[in-house]
């Protein structure tokens, strides 16, 4: 049996019900990247796997590989979790919609970037670090800059980090009108936009430029409230376009992000503080 079992440390990113009482859990592991495994009976009471198979729980896992024929599709090759010992949990992620949305957002990004059967220690460490920071965020407002920061770092790990401190083309200083090209991966100054015509491009507000500029640091140097929420929402949206450009997939959690930061309007109805179509939207240069 030992040849078919292995031990890994991983964080649960997603779980889907299987049959009456089981669950298929997608886990980002340090040693083997992304794995999918069945947690038998984890939806049943009492189950020793139950709480350990919830999203955002880091476990030391013992996994047994199934037997399958060579014709079995990769998606059908499920392994089984036989033992789990919890190392870390993030209970305070459930304190607000913003905390959960941000955590699920980063989990979705990690699911897009992670590769199966390959050690991905850095991705695991960076994701856990940013989840810890989001969990520690005292208010919903503080979550958004941390989410954007986490998104940038995950993009950087995948090699997609956009140029955020100088013009992508001329490496020159950014003055006056500044634009962002997800296709080229970064900021573009006005003269280069005219000269290079880099495809779909968005105008970047001064506050969003400031937010973007702070992202390469390991921690956010700015106090949480020094930039408006709209700036962080804009920065998040620009980074999301980079991710979507490279992976050709959408982040579903992003749909709820705007509603987490709804502000009351004159008619008493909540509306997103920063709607999707803000400012000068994507225009072809």
């Amino acid at each position: 049996m030992s040849g078919r079992t292995y031990r890994v440390t991983g964080i649960n990113l997603k779980g889907i019900p299987l049959g009456e009482a089981d669950r298929i859990v997608t886990i980002l592991t340090r040693e083997r990247g992304l794995i999918r495994a069945v947690a038998k009976g984890s939806r049943k009471q009492p189950s020793k796997l139950g709480g350990r198979m919830e999203p955002f729980v880091v476990n030391d896992l013992l996994i047994v590989q199934g037997r399958w024929s060579a014709q079995t599709e990769t998606s059908q090759r499920l392994q089984r979790i036989v033992q789990a010992e919890t190392l870390q949990t993030f209970p305070r992620l459930s304190r607000s919609l913003a905390h959960l949305t941000a955590a699920q957002y980063l989990a979705e990004v990690a699911l897009l970037l992670a590769l199966p059967d390959q050690a991905q220690e850095e991705l695991f460490v960076v994701l856990v670090e940013h989840l810890e920071r989001i969990e520690r965020a005292a208010s919903e407002r503080a979550v958004l800059p941390l989410l954007t920061h986490g998104l940038y770092h995950l993009l950087a790990l995948a090699g997609f980090a956009p140029q955020v401190n100088a013009c992508y083309f001329c490496q020159g200083e950014l003055v006056d009108s500044v634009f962002f090209s997800p296709q080229w991966g970064g900021l573009v100054c006005d003269p280069c936009r005219v000269a290079q015509r880099p495809g779909p491009i968005a105008w970047v507000s001064a506050s969003a430029l400031c937010a973007l500029g702070s992202l390469p640091n390991s921690t956010l140097p700015l106090p949480e409230d020094s930039l408006p929420l709209a700036a962080w929402l804009e920065a998040e949206r620009l980074l999301r376009r980079v991710l979507e450009h490279h992976t050709d997939r959408e982040i579903r959690s992003a749909e709820l992000l705007a509603s987490c930061y709804a502000v009351p309007t004159a008619n008493g109805q909540g509306s997103p503080a920063f709607p999707e179509g803000h400012s000068k939207e994507w225009a072809s240069a």
């Binding site: 049959g19 020793k48 709480g51 919890t86 949990t89 209970p91 919609l97 905390h99 749909e255």
Partner: protein, 199 residues
């Protein structure tokens, strides 16, 4: 391998949750062996259920009549409501025979990753119903998961402005009856410790 109508029956049965090809074959062959009257009754029951069962317009329970039996019952306490995520949870609560109040079914839990937010659930309907009927207490009988917790917080935040005096409680969480402490997982044990009670 099978004659065409039988193959079609197997195919249809296979679409049901938890039924694989072997079970579908077994069920189909069993059905064929039953008397025609029994099969007609089954087919009629399926059709009738599909045609008549709807969401109750008040609590979103499944019911052939609107409002549902629970909402119409004079024996039920209208000041005490139980908020559940799904009709299956409502049925679990009913099986206890302890709860005599009314229900509100949210229709799921908030899950940004699956695109489920406030607008996909019956949260606004609950707010309007609370404002209209003014219950005294709402019991949240929602599974203790990250998504369940967030859903409870969001519903609470929506209800506070319309019903500032409404008592909102949640089911206790912790160790299941008959379980052994040494086998409890750390997450459950930590929550049980958090929600400890005076002896």
């Amino acid at each position: 391998m099978y004659t065409r109508p039988l193959a079609r029956l197997i195919e249809e049965l296979q679409r049901l949750p938890g039924i694989g090809s072997k079970t579908a074959q077994r069920l189909a062959l069993h059905l064929i062996n039953r008397p025609a009257g029994e099969i007609e009754a089954l087919a009629k029951a399926l059709l009738e259920a599909k045609q008549t069962v709807r969401h109750c317009s008040i609590c979103f329970n499944w019911s052939a009549e609107d409002p549902c039996e629970i909402c119409r019952s004079p024996q039920r306490d209208p000041s005490l409501w139980c908020v559940v995520a799904d009709v299956k949870d409502l049925m679990a609560m009913e099986r206890t025979r302890e709860f005599k109040g009314l229900y509100h079914v949210l229709g799921g839990l908030i899950s940004p990753m699956n695109g489920i937010g406030v607008d996909q659930l019956h949260i606004r309907e609950l707010v309007a119903r609370v404002a209209r009927e003014k219950p005294q207490e709402l019991i949240f009988a929602i599974s203790p998961s990250v998504e369940g917790e967030v859903t409870m917080h969001v519903v609470k935040d929506y209800l506070k402005p319309v019903a500032p005096t409404l008592r909102m409680t949640r089911l206790a969480f912790g160790l299941p009856m008959g379980s052994e402490l040494e086998y409890a997982d750390e997450v459950t044990l930590a929550r049980a410790l958090e929600a400890r009670q005076e002896l």
